[in-house]
């Protein structure tokens, strides 16, 4: 028996926390599979095995115990988040490469769990979207009639069975369509949204996936595994930029609802900005961090060169975390003022 200063502890472990995060992702995964087909599951599996393998390999090189680090499931969480951010029908090497970057570059090279300044999944995603923008934009058409065999064949061999249309696997995302449409000019947002690519609120099928992410996030909050501050602040940040723009020129700018339900906004709110390791930890810091992520997401989507912006927004704000934390130290019991009294 070890002699510690505190003799009792809650029976919680990191593994259990991570397991709950994985569970919270399940509704979103289910909807994704329904919309995009079993390709999603293939991506998840590829990412999981790559992540575990990469983590074990680096730990071996670093001569650290492997089993406890794999058992904490943090690599699996990273892998799943990454897989769910990538195109469901992307080629197998893309997800493998992305996961390798996330685990090796984003996590282990900094010293493993707890030491990484950046969200590993977002590191992997950013590397891919910068290196392979075209492939990363090719999302499958939701609800496309492409059976499981065809999807597998496409992912692993990049060929299609006879009679299948390439459109089914490589149509652009709504954010992409909107961006390109606006760049080409001449069309108002409302006209663009008339295209069949867009569903009731913006993204046919995708909007349901987004809501499922939100559901998972709410459950995590109810389980006291994530704070309310960061996600709410992020959504507030999204609204704070998109709402005035939309009110000002509805023809030029998409509605706040469109921004909320498209891309990775809600996935980020529930699972990505709430990553504790790379996020801010002070109460005020969490509000600032979340809000600025939200602002950056819309700013980059609307004015930047990339269709979706969650990864960049999160990575940029990750860099600011030490500064935010330093300047938002809460008031210590009995002392006046916050920061360093």
């Amino acid at each position: 028996m070890s002699r510690h200063a505190t003799h009792i502890a809650q029976p919680v472990t990191v593994s259990r926390v991570m397991l709950k995060v994985l569970a919270a992702l399940l509704p979103g995964i289910a909807v994704s599979v329904y919309c995009f087909g079993p390709g999603v599951l293939v991506q998840l599996l590829l990412a999981t095995f790559t992540a575990l393998g990469a983590e074990a390999a680096v730990l071996r090189l670093r001569q650290r115990p492997i089993a406890p680090a794999l058992a904490d499931l943090s690599a699996v969480v990273t892998a799943w988040l990454l897989a769910l951010s990538m195109p469901p029908l992307g080629a197998w090497w893309m997800i493998v490469l992305a996961t390798l970057f996330a685990i090796v570059l984003g996590k282990q090279l900094y010293g493993g769990l707890g030491n990484n300044p950046f969200n590993p999944a977002m590191v992997g995603f950013a590397v891919m979207i910068v290196s392979f923008p075209a492939q990363m934009a090719a999302w499958g058409t939701p609800l496309a009639a492409l059976d499981a065999t065809a999807q597998l064949q496409w992912i692993f061999t990049h060929t299609l069975p006879a009679g299948s249309s390439v459109d089914a696997i490589s149509s652009a995302t709504p954010l992409d369509v909107l961006k390109t449409g606006l760049l080409q000019g001449g069309q108002a947002v409302s006209q663009l949204l008339q295209q069949p690519r867009f569903g009731q609120w913006g993204n046919a099928g995708g909007e349901w996936v987004a809501l499922a992410w939100a559901l998972g996030g709410l459950w995590l909050w109810q389980q006291k595994l994530i704070p309310w501050r960061t996600p709410l602040a992020m959504l507030a940040g999204v609204l704070a930029v998109s709402l005035p723009l939309w009110l000002w020129q509805p023809a030029q700018y998409a509605s706040p609802l469109f921004h909320l339900l498209n891309g990775a906004t809600l996935l980020a709110a529930g699972f990505i900005v709430t990553d504790p390791v790379s996020g801010s930890t002070t109460p005020l810091g969490r509000l600032i961090f979340g809000f600025l992520v939200g602002v950056l997401v819309v700013v980059i989507r609307v004015f930047g060169g990339f269709p979706d912006a969650v990864a960049f927004a999160v990575l940029i704000m990750n860099m600011a975390v030490p500064f935010i934390d330093h300047t938002t130290q809460p008031r210590v019991f009995g002392r006046k003022g916050g920061r360093h009294a």
Binding site: R3, A5, T6, Q10, T13, D72, G334
Partner: protein
């Protein structure tokens, strides 16, 4: 009902208090031996006033205080002192401390007791009475109580009956059974402090204690306040915050903010000391965990802990035992130690109650610790700094505001023993500060010494220069007046001086002549002893040196070196011996002179 304030954070660990509260306070027979450590309070250990073999009566003082921050120690029963020396102590270090061993004679006969008429006594009298009675804070901190009664008038006296740690129920049982005694203590403390109001804070998981205290307080202005059960509401700062809204920062005395906090056990001990003249000889101890008869026992201070646990029917004598609660208590390194005044609870560990902590994992900065920290610190940052030994940063982030309550450690999903790291960092910082202080003292003293040597040197040089100048001037005048006529007055002046000097020398010689026989008579004994001692020392030194020489000679491969070394060595020895002899002779002469002077003056 007054308004209650909340404090940040806090946790709700399982209580485990029922096992011990099922029984009334149990008396115990006297143990075969009592081990009364001299370090029974914060501050200096007491100094023993008894000797081995002495018979003492119950309540007799065994050791007196040493300085202001110290408390006296008394015999818990009558008997014989069988030893005074190092003995295991209830401290996490496992270091032995000076301890008085008392063998009870079974008679338990009291020494005469002297109660204090406290209503007429001045606060100073009351304080010195409590100090003599060895009353210290029984909540666990064992701060000498007399020092806590120094501020008056005081706005609020907070009485701590919260007892928030799991397992511990000694205050609960004391309040249930001896509420009247506690209220007597409150009366005395409130009188000494001239307290404006008295608030008694009790957690709502102790309804019987609340009822008993309310009944005892009926007709008094003292108010029993029921507070929500939340750990660590029994921390003095937290309880003050809950009841008054005042936050006492680290490094500030509560009295400066008009509040003082006293534990119910302390107040009861105070009442016994003042009203009955009984020193602090026993206390209520919760013995629980893996024991057959979990209960609260009234135990004499110094009772061997192993014996106490046996009385309570400890199941596994090899089990680890916690003194204090499971959150802040210490694992006892040696159960031979006697019960200290701080010992409020003994918990025998079992694997069922205390499953081993899973291995430590990496901190994921989840912030759960920050959300439960009652000091509103950021424990994950402190952990980071402590682990990387970045103590300066840890201090900057207010490490010393940490009260080591363990809430962070309790909730940590990575199972990091956070408080262990904070204690490590704190004691490293203390050690560094001690070293720094010593170094700066040494630096100052060295610098002053350099300065002193320089000053002496320059003063001496100045004196010499002045004398030389005088001499030169004299010579110059002489040279300027070669005429013999002018020599006469100078000579006469010189003669006068010479004459006086000669007279003085004669007088001294006479005095010495007179003094010699006397001094020889009076100091011969002393001198003999001293001389013998010196000779012995010299002999020892010579022997050591000879041995060293021999070793050196044996070691030396070079045949030339032994003959070369030996003469040098002898020469040195001779010189040293001569020096010592000279020193001795000088000492003898001086002593004789001193004696003569003394005799002459008589």
């Amino acid at each position: 009902m007054s308004r209650l304030y909340d404090f940040h954070g806090g946790i709700h660990p399982p209580q485990h208090k029922d096992a011990a509260t099922a029984w009334p306070i149990q008396p115990l027979p006297l143990p075969p031996q009592l081990y009364i450590a001299l370090a029974q309070s914060v501050g200096n250990a007491a100094r023993p006033t008894v000797s081995v073999g002495q018979q003492v009566l119950k309540g007799q003082q065994l050791a007196q205080l040493d300085g202001r921050l110290s408390a006296a120690v008394h015999a818990p029963t009558s008997g014989t002192i069988t030893a005074i020396g190092p003995h295991p102590f209830a401290h996490p270090s496992g270091l032995p401390v000076e301890t008085i061993t008392l063998q009870p004679d079974g008679l338990d006969s009291w020494q005469p007791r002297s109660p204090l008429a406290w209503q007429d006594a001045s606060p100073a009298q009351l304080r010195s009475h409590l100090q003599d009675m060895g009353v210290v804070g029984l909540g666990g901190a064992v701060f000498p109580t007399h020092l806590k009664l120094a501020a008056s008038p005081l706005a609020t006296l907070v009485v701590n009956g919260a007892e928030c740690e799991p397992f511990i129920s000694c205050d609960d049982m004391l309040m249930r059974e001896r509420a009247a005694g506690i209220v007597d203590g409150i009366r005395i403390a409130a009188h000494a402090l001239q307290a404006g109001q008295v608030l008694i804070g009790i957690e709502d998981n102790k309804p019987q204690a609340i009822a008993a205290m309310q009944a005892a307080c009926a007709g008094t202005p003292y108010r029993v306040v029921t507070i929500p059960t939340k750990y660590p509401s029994g921390g003095a700062k937290q309880l003050i915050r809950i009841l008054t809204g005042i936050e006492v920062p680290h490094g500030t005395r509560a009295t400066d903010l008009g509040v003082q906090c006293l534990n119910v056990g302390t107040l009861y001990a105070m009442a016994r000391a003042v009203l009955h003249g009984e020193p602090l000889l026993s206390r209520i101890v919760t013995v629980t965990g893996a024991v057959a008869h979990a209960a609260n026992y009234e135990v004499a201070i110094g009772t061997p802990l192993a014996w106490l646990l046996q009385q309570a029917g400890i199941a596994d004598t090899q089990a680890e035992v916690i003194m204090g609660g499971p959150m802040m208590g210490i694992t006892l390194p040696d159960l031979h130690a006697g019960l200290p005044k701080a010992g409020n609870c003994l918990i025998a560990k079992s694997a069922a109650l205390f499953p081993p902590r899973p291995p430590e994992q990496a901190c994921i900065r989840c912030g759960d610790c920050a959300s439960v920290c009652p000091a509103q610190l950021q424990p994950m940052d402190l952990f980071w700094f402590a682990k990387s030994r970045n103590f300066g940063k840890a201090q900057e982030r207010h490490l010393f505001d940490c009260i080591e309550c363990g809430a962070c450690s309790y909730v940590c999903p990575s199972q990091i023993p956070l408080v262990d790291y904070y204690r490590f960092a704190k004691s490293e910082i203390w050690a560094a500060e001690r070293d720094k202080k010593n170094a700066s003292l040494a630096r100052q003293r060295h610098a002053f010494r350099q300065f002193r040597i320089e000053r002496d040197k320059s003063e001496k040089a100045a004196r010499l220069a002045a004398r030389a100048a005088e001499q030169a001037a004299k010579l110059a005048t002489q040279a300027a007046n070669p005429a013999a006529a002018s020599a006469a007055p100078a000579a006469s002046g010189m003669d006068d001086a010479k004459k006086a000097a000669i007279a003085a020398a004669l007088a001294r010689a006479a005095a010495q002549k007179e003094a010699k026989p006397l001094s020889e008579q009076h100091t011969s004994g002393l001198d003999d002893a001293k001389q013998a001692a010196i000779q012995a020392a010299m002999a020892r030194a010579a022997a050591r040196k000879a041995a060293a020489d021999a070793a050196k000679a044996a070691d030396a491969a070079n045949p030339d070196s032994p003959p070369a070394a030996t003469p040098a060595q002898t020469g040195m020895d001779d010189a040293k011996r001569a020096a010592v002899e000279a020193a001795m002779a000088r000492a003898t002469a001086r002593k004789a002179a001193a004696q003569a002077q003394k005799d002459a003056s008589e």
